[in-house]
């Protein structure tokens, strides 16, 4: 928790609920009890890079799934893309690339659906100030059962695609260095085709909810935890949104390109990470702008802002509508993440339909190999944003170095800014009201952060709120909803 400086007061909120893993918010007050700074602390397990060292490279796409119980597929694919280059097989066969893309769009669909229906819809449907006892997925299930069913079944559909392409949930092995270990059978394809039109219908409905909510509440949302920022994402060589593969593009808050079509093997020439003494998580920034000006956002908002177009018709129409809200300039409204996320949900559903009609998915040419390399980077646009995997492998096939920049780390500075903005607007005195707490959570949730903690065992994840005075003494504490109840 640290010691408060004599001239400041500290309010600590931990852990942040309904985000992945444990987080803690500290609000630093000045002598006049106004917000001086807000910090989102990520209690991140470190040491994964060391865990990987010494392991044979072909094990890595499976091992990295242990990083996260919510987005294992993203780590699986990012690592596999790096290992493709290690074995000289970065140009995959059509079947291998399309099976992987199907896996990835399935992941995008299920992750975005889970986040929107399970985590966000309670806020939107019941309001930020609604009783937490009903402002959750069970509350949605009772009051809007049709919507809740759609969320569950969208998620299930995506998970079943992952199972068909990656294998078991715990031990996904579908992507291997240079390709995949299986294609999609005709029976599997037909099973997914049977439901895809329903999936599209539900995706359109979710997009409509997110869009209408943003439009209806624009006055209150436009300043809610919002700020101008740079945006980073992969784009295809023609500027299209591409969630699986492409080159790096960075734009500023006005849409001007900072860099474009950068081969991500050279990401270290463009991106650096700053360390701050109060956080375990690093703060990435664009090198040419420096840490003060070069921080950026990733994820759905950044991707929709950064791309020139989306190559599926319904998502492209939705993108145009989204961009029209800000006159074609990047949208910097934090809460617009939800609208952008649902554009991607629809895009993923459209892509899945296209792929299911592609006979290459039933091809049998699954793996390629070429000139062996000892260093490689794998990048993917994970549901939460750009995910970097960087490996060095020695001649004995063992990993000797590993560096990961996960999506949530890329959004570290923006999340801190969002929390600080909300705290400035909604904190009064030293009391953590439900309203403030809810709004801090809402602002953080917009980023759909994954705080890199896949340990979840029974008895964890209570919410504790503490207020400390300027000498670090506890003056108030709130606990709510300990699901462990003594287990």
């Amino acid at each position: 928790m640290g010691t408060a400086a004599p001239s400041t007061r500290k309010i600590v909120i931990e852990p942040v609920t309904r985000v992945e893993g444990h987080g803690k918010v500290t609000i630093l007050l000045d002598e006049e009890r106004k917000v001086k700074q807000a910090r989102l602390h990520i209690v991140e397990f470190r040491g994964f890079e060391r865990f990987i060292q010494g392991r044979p490279f072909w094990e890595v796409p499976v091992l990295v799934q242990r990083l996260c119980g919510i987005c294992p597929v993203s780590h699986h694919l990012a690592a596999a893309k790096a290992m493709d280059r290690i074995v000289g097989g970065e140009t995959l066969t059509p079947t291998a690339e399309k099976v992987r893309r199907l896996m990835h769009y399935g992941q995008m669909l299920q992750s975005h659906a889970l986040h929107f229906f399970h985590l966000v819809s309670p806020d939107l449907l019941f309001g930020f100030d609604a009783d937490p006892a009903i402002r959750n997925v069970i509350g949605v299930a009772k009051k809007h059962p049709d919507l809740a069913v759609q969320g569950v079944l969208l998620r299930k559909y995506g998970q079943e695609i992952i199972k068909a392409t990656a294998g078991k949930k715990i031990h996904g092995t579908g992507a291997i260095p240079g390709g995949v270990n299986k294609n999609l059978s005709v029976a599997e394809r037909d099973g997914f085709l049977k439901d895809i039109e329903q999936i599209l219908t539900w995706s359109r409905g979710a997009l409509a909810i997110a869009k209408d909510y943003t439009a209806t509440h624009l006055t209150e949302l436009k300043d809610f935890g919002s700020f101008d920022s740079n945006h980073v994402s992969l784009v295809r060589s023609d500027g299209a949104m591409d969630l699986y593969h492409g080159n790096l593009r960075a734009i500023d808050a006005a849409g001007r390109k900072i860099f474009d079509q950068v081969d991500y093997q050279r990401y270290l020439d463009y991106i650096a990470e700053e360390v701050k003494p109060w956080s375990y998580m690093k703060f990435p920034f664009i090198k040419s702008l420096g840490p003060e000006q070069g921080w950026y956002r990733v994820g759905p908002l950044a991707r929709v802002n950064a791309c020139d177009f989306i190559d599926t018709p319904e998502a492209e129409a939705a993108r145009k509508e989204f961009m029209a809200l800000t006159g074609g300039k990047p949208n910097n409204i934090t809460m617009a993440y939800h609208w952008a996320r649902m554009i991607e949900l629809l895009h993923a559903a459209e892509k899945i339909r296209l792929l299911l009609h592609d006979p290459d998915l039933q091809g049998t040419d699954l793996v390629v190999k070429g000139r062996r390399r000892e260093e490689a980077v794998g990048l993917i646009e994970a549901p939460r944003g750009t995910l970097f995997h960087h490996y060095q492998v020695d001649r004995n096939d063992q990993v000797v170095r590993c560096n990961l920049i996960v999506s949530t780390t890329n959004n570290n500075t923006p999340m801190n800014r969002a929390v600080e903005g909300v705290a400035r607007d909604y904190l009064s005195g030293t009391e953590i009201t439900e309203g403030l707490l809810n709004r801090i959570e809402v602002a953080i949730r917009a980023y759909d952060p994954c705080l890199s903690c896949a340990t979840h065992a029974m008895g964890q994840m209570p919410l504790t709120v503490e207020i400390l005075d300027c000498d670090g003494r506890l003056v108030d504490r709130k606990d709510r909803g300990d699901p462990g109840d003594g287990r």
Binding site: G21, F45, F51, R66, G69, V137, A148, R155, I170, R480
Partner: protein, 168 residues
Amino acid sequence: MADSVLLIGYGNPGRCDDGLGPALAEAVERLHLPGVTVEADYQLTVEDAAAAAHRYVVFADASVGGGEPFFFRAVHPAGGTSFSTHSVEPEAVLALARDLFQADTRGYALGIRGYRFHEFGETLSDEARGNLAAALRFIVPVLTERTFDSAAGTAEGIHSPAQVRTHP
């Protein structure tokens, strides 16, 4: 199905004893028990409401501070304040199954005591391995004979190995 069973073992095998749930699932799956479907996952999530298709569901997980070597008890649908993450609790899975799919699935939690969670590693601690073996010895006849309620007892509580053996 009238008496079909779903066993979900969940946890992260890359976090030492957090892998107790999946380890139990793997062990049960190898037995091919009739009418018992086995799943393993990192966490419970909303789509696990598909448990609604089964009469009984057993949620097997590592336990941080529960009794040794494990506990087994009935769980009931509940929502209310949920402060979990993207994952949901067994009670919420049952509530979703009930509210969304009108299911009367009966749920039970098997919490196997673990000790090492805060580091990376793919092996269970020796103590956790012993608890896993005890839990497996306990749960297999329960799954086979569908004696969930008698095994859980009339009151929620912790079962010591001796207590467990008193139940069929």
